[in-house]
């Protein structure tokens, strides 16, 4: 499961997903967010409240506006961690493929020299 139930419920609405996608491009005000939708600003504000409660966005106060920004911490980082692990293992194992191609004379494991411990 990628996100908590609250987060998932917040993301289940297509308008809210569209709002998040817009915010992935950068911070935006309610007016800017309402523009592409056939929706009143109060209606957009209600969606923003749900997203804020789910931890997916945060808002700050600038004069009379309250611009919103995406909070990626609201999404579980599992997917990103798995992607990084996959890339790391792939890079390592490709290097290992090359090394294995050069290994021809096995050494008994008990003869391995060990490096001295760190000071």
């Amino acid at each position: 499961m990628l996100a908590s139930d609250a987060t998932f419920a917040a993301l289940a609405d297509p308008t809210r997903r569209a709002i998040l996608t817009r915010l992935a491009r950068g911070e935006a005000t309610v007016t800017e967010l309402a523009a592409p939708f056939d929706m009143s600003q109060p209606a957009v504000s209600r969606h923003l409240k749900v997203l804020e409660a789910a931890g997916l966005i945060s808002r700050r106060i600038v004069g009379s506006t309250r611009p919103c920004r995406l909070e990626m911490g609201g999404l579980d980082n599992l997917e990103e961690w798995l992607a990084v692990m996959r890339a790391t293992f792939e890079a390592n194992y490709r290097r290992l493929d090359s090394l294995l191609a050069t290994m021809h004379s096995p050494i008994p494991p008990h003869t391995h020299p060990y490096k001295d411990p760190l000071p």
Partner: protein, 161 residues
């Protein structure tokens, strides 16, 4: 297609499998000989492992130190629990970022697979905080959540709905 698989098993484990065109004896050696380990367990391009201690015996110590040459670095310590030559390794490791992450219990097996080897590694899935710390090491640089990745992530999340 990449021959690597990396999958979660429930919410507690991660399982990695990979085929190698070399006999189990050689793949095993590459996991226990420090001189060999330091040449391939490196992560992204540009990282190196200037310190590699790997005492391949039960109770033996493990210490790997990595650097990216730009001041970023971290290290890993661990202990071997069980070694079955050319077949199986069991060890515990933790990363120091610099605070130690919870112990990760890892079982690595080396099975004959045709003319080569099937490597299977089963490890603990780190918790959210540990994943966050690992992602902050710099190893994730260049993999920030871009606009494109975010759109794809959302699409994947709802593809099954």
């Amino acid at each position: 297609m990449s021959p690597l698989t990396l999958t979660t098993e429930g919410d507690r484990f991660v399982v990695v499998t990979r085929h190698f065109d070399a006999p189990p004896k050689h793949v095993y050696r590459a996991h226990v000989e420090p001189e060999v380990i330091a040449q391939w367990i490196l992560g992204p391009d540009g990282w190196s492992m200037p310190v590699c201690i790997n005492e391949a015996r039960p109770g033996g110590r493990i210490r790997y130190e990595w650097t990216d040459g730009n001041g970023n670095g971290f290290y890993l310590t661990g202990e071997f629990i069980e070694l079955v030559p050319f077949t199986k390794l069991v060890h515990i490791e933790r990363m120091h970022l610099p605070d130690p992450t919870p112990d990760n219990h890892i079982v690595t097996t080396f099975e004959k697979d045709g003319e080569g080897t099937l490597l299977t590694m089963r490890m603990t899935l780190p918790d959210t905080a540990t994943r966050e710390a690992m992602l902050a090491t710099g190893m994730a640089d260049g993999m920030e959540m871009s606009y494109e990745r975010f759109e794809r992530l959302l699409a994947e999340m709802f593809a099954a709905k």
